[in-house]
Amino acid sequence: MLSKRIIPCLDVRAGKVTKGIEFQGNVDIGDPVAMARAYYEQGADELVFYDITASNERRGIMIDVVAAVAREIFIPFSVGGGLRTLEDMRAVLLAGAEKVSIDSGAVRNPEIITQGARAFGSQCIVLSMQVKKTGARPGLPSGYEVVIDGGRLLTGKDAIEWAQQGERLGAGELCINSIDRDGTNLGFEIELTRSISDSVSIPVIASGGAGIPEHLREAFVEAGADAAIVASMVHYGTYPIPVIKRYLHEHQVEVRDGLVPERSGL
């Protein structure tokens, strides 16, 4: 049986980690490579980096970060933010990322999901979606709407239908980020995550709102998520990953003990 994955998320702007509160007012936290190594040693199961500058002239900085991370940590990690073309994807995969995360680019050009899956395999392609609860109406049966461009633009797409379409197009995993919960520490959007988890057969990653270990238990047990993204609750040292894992283990959630032994040379 697969264990549930805890995935620290590192928002990177111009080579530095930031964490946004509802995508506004980003503040610098630190060096992405050092943070990645710390999370690796604490037993993170995977990492995700979002390049939130994502302008062409800055892309090179992110590739250097990816390559440096790949030399130091030996767990999977994905990279997202502004990836639009096969060449964008190839560059981060060749630099050492395990997966690419595509978001607004896939809404504008769904074919990129299929092209990426054909070129690199479905397991490389994480379809990430930003979702806002805007209320059920004709054409939006679930009431959950996909938004793009960092949460600024409503698309009219129903999140559950987009999730199913993403799976059909070749996505290997889905990352469901609730804009309403992002940065709030109020817990994941359970109803949304459950609805999508029940509608697809690929792994689902819950994102947005993690504040305490119980929120992860809810995502795994009540929403059926396979993995959960954490950010500020780990970035500020409030809940080190071993503390979260111990809580989950005590609540009968299968997790991996991934502490890297000190001085083991590993």
Binding site: L2, S3, A70, L94, G121, Q123, L266
Partner: protein, 204 residues
């Protein structure tokens, strides 16, 4: 020198990074002479069986791996697609493989007892050791390793299976025969446990 076989697919640099981190010299190469003269050979990577075999044949490496590496008794490590192409045949793309280990590569079932099974398996799964193969020295029974696979190997001779894992079905997670070792899980992405196994291979 450890040769990492470059067959134009997969993420080869992460295996090289892991070896360098452990202090082992390695080279990513597609040259038969370098593979023949290497002390050890690793075939890593995520990929489809059909494309992998096609590339190995086009680079004329299928024969080199079968005859000059594996049959010659040179230490060989296959990772992920590298365990699958050792078998006779893969259901993925109906592919004839290297045929150095008798058996088939089959797909995970779509459902078990009416419950849908997530395929591909993506994530950390417990690996159960059978016996005490030196490749697992220092690795706790039931340790988690990172898997990404829709297919798994089913060797005809169960005595080659040195570890199993469960994803809907109990399947062969690692096999060994003499100095041939192969794992379905990604050693280069499995944290400290994976690095330990990789280091053990370098001492075989």
């Amino acid at each position: 020198m450890i040769a990492i076989v470059d067959y134009r697919a997969g993420n080869l640099t992460s295996v090289a990074s892991a070896l360098e981190h452990l202090g082992h010299r390695c080279e990513i190469t597609d040259r038969p002479d370098k593979i023949r003269s290497a002390e050890r050979v690793i075939l890593p990577g995520v990929g489809a069986a059909g494309a992998t075999m096609e590339n190995l044949r086009r680079l004329e490496l299928d024969h080199v791996l079968r005859e000059d590496v594996i049959k010659a008794g040179k230490p060989f490590l296959g990772i992920c697609i590298g365990i699958q192409i050792l078998m006779d045949h893969s259901a993925e793309d109906d592919t004839r493989c290297l045929g150095v280990v008798a058996g088939e590569v089959v797909r995970f079932p779509a459902a078990v007892d009416g419950c849908p099974l997530k395929v591909p398996q993506i994530g950390w799964n417990r690996v159960h050791k059978l016996g005490a193969h030196p490749i697992f020295a220092g690795v706790a029974e039931g340790s988690h390793f990172y898997f990404v696979n829709s297919y798994y190997p089913r060797p005809a001779d169960p005595s080659v299976v040195i570890a199993t894992a469960e994803h809907g079905v109990v399947f062969c997670a690692a096999l060994a025969r003499e100095r041939l070792v192969a794992t379905q899980f990604h050693l280069e992405k499995s944290g400290a446990a994976g690095l330990r196994v990789l280091d053990n291979f370098c001492g075989l």
